[in-house]
Symmetry: C2
């Protein structure tokens, strides 16, 4: 930090390092000590900007690097046997992209930037090497993989057993919690995705999404202004999800 060469590129360096990244308590480095994070820094050299509307990767692309979202928002979607699209998730700061490509070596879905985004590329072969040497990183990586499985099971639960209102309430609460964990307001949400994307993710049509949101608005649970949604009675949303308000 104090030698001449480092100073000359101080700005870039500061931005590129996990050590100083504001997301290090969410992302891959979570739980690592500073020595370990420095070793992780060594393999994460590349940042990549992805403008809104562009793909980070597409189905069939081979996996070279996992990507950690630095800023922005992605939707990942797959194409079914009959060509229909299914959104499998929305990823934002600190989330990892590309985990589904580890088995098979090629991406199973496409990742589209919903807003201007930036990602850190994590070369997968070098990560594998580091995992073997760093037990803490290995545990963290397995926790992320397992956590992805758990998140998908939550979604399966929604798609399999919940009605439209419960799905939307769960969606809003999940988004609220995730934004909250990232230091954003947990009640004032700026949705980066369309009603159609939300519907696709939740197994609903866009009209149904719109109707349910209007219904929540009429009940005073939320305030809707286009893609900006303010949660006004988060407790009522929670009660709805937990089935207290059956109707």
């Amino acid at each position: 930090m104090t030698d001449a060469a480092a100073v000359s590129t101080f700005q870039e360096d500061l931005k590129k390092r996990c050590s100083t990244c504001s997301l290090r308590h969410l992302c891959l480095p979570l739980g690592l000590d500073s020595d370990d994070i420095k070793r992780l820094d060594d393999i994460i050299s590349q940042r990549r900007k992805v403008p809104a509307g562009q793909h980070l990767f597409r189905v069939g692309d081979s996996l070279r690097s996992l990507a950690a979202v630095r800023t922005g928002f992605f939707k990942v979607y797959e194409l079914g046997a009959d060509g229909r699209e299914q959104v499998s998730g929305f990823q934002t700061e600190g989330d990892l992209l590309g985990l589904d490509a580890i088995s098979g070596g090629a991406h199973r879905g496409s990742a589209l930037a919903l807003v201007d985004a930036e990602v850190c590329a994590i070369p997968f072969d070098r990560l594998e090497g580091l995992l073997a040497e760093m037990p803490g990183l290995q545990r963290r990586f397995h926790a992320i993989l397992s956590g992805t499985i758990v998140a998908n099971q939550t979604l399966m639960m929604m798609l399999g057993t919940m009605r439209a209102e419960h799905r939307l309430a769960t969606f809003l609460l999940d988004l609220s919690a995730r934004l909250g964990a990232r230091g954003r307001s947990p009640t004032l949400l700026h949705l980066p995705m369309s009603r159609e994307d939300i519907g696709n993710y939740l197994g609903l049509k866009l009209e149904t999404v719109s109707r349910v949101l209007s219904h929540f608005r009429d009940q005073g649970l939320i305030k809707v202004a286009g893609r900006t949604i303010e949660i006004r009675r988060i407790d009522a949303l929670r009660a709805l999800v937990s089935g207290v308000l059956r109707h």
Copy 2:
């Protein structure tokens, strides 16, 4: 193998070893060389029988070991916020159970033996140690975790976008392929689960499952005799799934 002590327990040993296990080309050891499999053998000491109708683990149980299914069939299900059940998968020979518990340390779902079953217990802490030392095993383990994510995405696709007939056809084809990979008949299926379990897994009611199966039978696609189903026109089922037969 040739010393006196080993000979005395030859039968048990033979049964307990991955090295000689008929599932080693499906299960965790897939792709490992014989030296590596021997090291894996060392940490997998326990077999456990689980009679039909009993749980291997329940929600909240802490994770000590992953379990590899040796024989039998399990269903894994979770309970939602409102208490409703969602079957997240059916596991059989060579499948790993407990992956969702790695993040969080406790099981998120319950695993129920649908028929008499036997599993190999894989102590997770010892597995972690071995992963760090054996690159091949690490790759295999990551492929399994990633493959579970991919399998769940397929299910999400079904739940989110497919109609009842497509879901059932996909279910039958998936089961057929899995049994085929295990050396069983890919056309004569003995379902270990009830219509209700199938329906829950697919996001349908048991009556709908029954009706769709009857419909397939009437079309000559399958033969139904209780839980025994014979696939007669697998090509037609595939065509249905791929959307060729839209109607």
